[in-house]
């Protein structure tokens, strides 16, 4: 079964862990975890409950669905851009994910949060993409922009720190290239777990829900991914 089909069927099947709560980000000690800031789940805090919007969208209210889209689409696009390294492909994943969600709204049963549901669809589309990419061995850390031109995705990472200088910027780019190369060596599943945990700052329990697996399995996958990355980047420490 293709991953996208699995995404829909598993989403329709509901939440394996039966938790409808919104995922929580690690916020207790952000100074220790500087990456756990401002990513996808951060937008969910303080937001009005999605339930009413979902119910309206299920009744065919497109404005309600578009409101739901606006709650999550930035995070979806960010995840897709980071995982695919291509603005064009990320745009396709964004489009496919929300269209699938729109068509399947009537199947959403509130057995998990809408957040989990939409990310289940997105992550499965991304996993499908990563698997195809792995088969094609296209793991170069270059990206293709919307105009079809290649660029180094890490060269786009700005250095907003005071006192930044060209030499440091060059080092950062080199670091980024190495990290990205190491990330591409992970299996699609390891990459996804690491992405959701480290870069998106989700709790492992939520990662497990999104990937339709247990927290323990997500933990083990994260452990494996981290060990591989540490091995690949050992000389950088």
């Amino acid at each position: 079964m293709p991953a996208d089909a699995w995404a829909i069927s598993s989403a329709v099947g509901g939440c394996s862990h039966g938790d409808a709560s919104r995922p929580q980000r690690e916020r207790s000690n952000e100074s220790q975890d500087p990456l756990a800031r401002g990513h996808m789940a951060g937008h969910s805090l303080g937001r009005i409950d999605d339930t009413l919007l979902v119910r309206e969208a299920q009744r065919g209210n497109r404005a309600a669905f578009e409101e739901l889209v606006r709650h999550y689409d930035q995070a979806v696009l960010r995840l897709a851009v980071h995982l695919t390294g291509s603005e064009h492909e990320a745009q396709d994943i964004y489009q496919d994910a929300f269209l699938k969600a729109y068509k399947s709204m009537s199947n959403f049963r509130f057995e998990c949060s809408f957040y989990t549901w939409i990310y289940r669809i997105v992550t499965n589309l991304c996993l499908d993409h990563l698997r195809k990419k792995q088969v094609r061995k296209e793991d170069a850390p270059v990206a293709v922009d919307a105009q079809g031109e290649h660029y180094d995705v890490l060269a786009q990472v700005p250095d907003g720190r005071a006192g930044a200088n060209p030499e440091r910027d060059l080092m950062r780019r080199e670091l980024g290239t190495r990290i990205n190369h190491a990330l591409h060596k992970l299996t699609p599943r390891e990459r996804m777990v690491f992405e959701l945990k480290h870069y998106q700052g989700l709790k492992l329990r939520t990662v497990g829900e999104i990937l339709n697996t247990t927290e323990e399995t997500a933990k083990n996958t994260l452990f494996r991914a981290t060990q591989k990355l540490r091995g690949a980047l050992a000389d950088m420490r």
């Binding site: 489009q95 269209l99 199947n107 890490l154 670091l175 981290t226």
Partner: protein, 308 residues
């Protein structure tokens, strides 16, 4: 605590995913174990290194372009296919009634009957039966609101709900009215409505469907008043219809209402010679919990022996 456990959980410690007690234990262990302290330091260093590579928000132009493209696609996209609604929506629709077994069962029975009927029509190559335009489809009726008969008239008014409340008027012989009354006997939460419908149906117990509905009400209705009305309507058929006799016998043995059991006992008097009735009466006369039923059963049996 073993070093192995610490090594496995250092990552969770760094990501603040350890419970407080485990976190405390890990910190205590690291404070006195040089190997684990070194591992924690290395893990933190790696975390700090990889954290230098951050993920930025998507460019505003890309965000805007993606939103516009999605909005265009949504303009031409239908929300859910017809088959999806057909397959999934009834399940959602049924969820609120899952705690109402009688209504749930009735809905399923209607559904299965409809399915079997449709299959039969297709197999025989016939066109579907067309109901009269004004006839309410049973599957569209959500409940009967009220039933009333005008004094001195044969006109009966029935208010029932479909998507919107509708009203049907006609005589008891009107097929539409009968259909609604039959529906009301089995599918209404309001026992008053069920009692009114059973009361009216007892006026035409010759109809097979009506008799079925009365038998159903006698056996399964939760309201003793409705069951009493049903047994009164069936009374004249105890002698000729074995199914009615069996249902009345069942009521005599099993019904929780003493008044209804007494009524059943009286109705069975004319057929006391029936072996089944006799056996039941003997058992009741011997050991029924209700003293009145015991004595009445003995009376009936004694009348029988006098005749014999």
């Amino acid at each position: 605590m073993k070093c192995e456990w610490v090594h496995e959980n250092i990552l969770l410690h760094i990501y603040n995913e350890l419970p407080d007690d485990a976190r405390y234990e890990l910190e205590q262990h690291v404070a006195r174990c040089a190997d684990c302290a070194a591992e924690l330091k290395a893990a933190r260093q790696f975390h700090a290194t990889i954290s230098q590579f951050t993920v930025d928000e998507p460019p505003p132009n890309l965000m805007a372009a993606s939103r516009m493209r999605l909005e265009e696609a949504l303009e031409t996209t239908e929300q859910g296919g017809f088959w999806q609604r057909l397959v999934f929506d009834p399940a959602a629709w049924l969820r609120p009634v899952k705690l109402a077994p009688a209504l749930g069962a009735a809905i399923f029975i209607v559904g299965f009957a409809g399915g079997i009927g449709a299959t039969y029509q297709v197999m025989n190559g016939r066109n579907p039966i067309e109901l009269p335009a004004a006839a309410p489809a049973e599957s569209s009726i959500t409940g009967i609101q009220s039933i009333s008969q005008q004094p001195g008239s044969s006109q009966i008014s029935i208010r029932y709900n479909t998507v919107a409340t509708q009203e049907a008027q006609g005589s008891l012989n009107d097929q539409r009215i009968q259909q609604l009354l039959l529906f009301a006997t089995r599918n209404n939460y309001n026992s008053g409505v069920r009692m009114d419908s059973v009361d009216l149906l007892t006026q035409t117990p010759n109809d097979t469907h009506v008799r079925e509905a009365l038998l159903y009400a006698l056996r399964y209705d939760s309201n003793p008043g409705v069951r009493l009305k049903a047994i009164e309507g069936l009374g004249s058929y105890v002698k000729d219809d074995v199914r009615v006799r069996d249902a009345v016998l069942e009521a005599l043995v099993n019904d929780s209402n003493p008044g209804l059991r007494t009524q059943a006992l009286h109705l069975l008097q004319p057929v006391r010679a029936d072996s089944s009735v006799r056996l039941v009466l003997e058992r009741l006369a011997e050991s029924d919990e209700n003293q009145y039923i015991r004595s009445q059963a003995r009376n009936v049996l004694s009348q029988m022996s006098e005749i014999d």
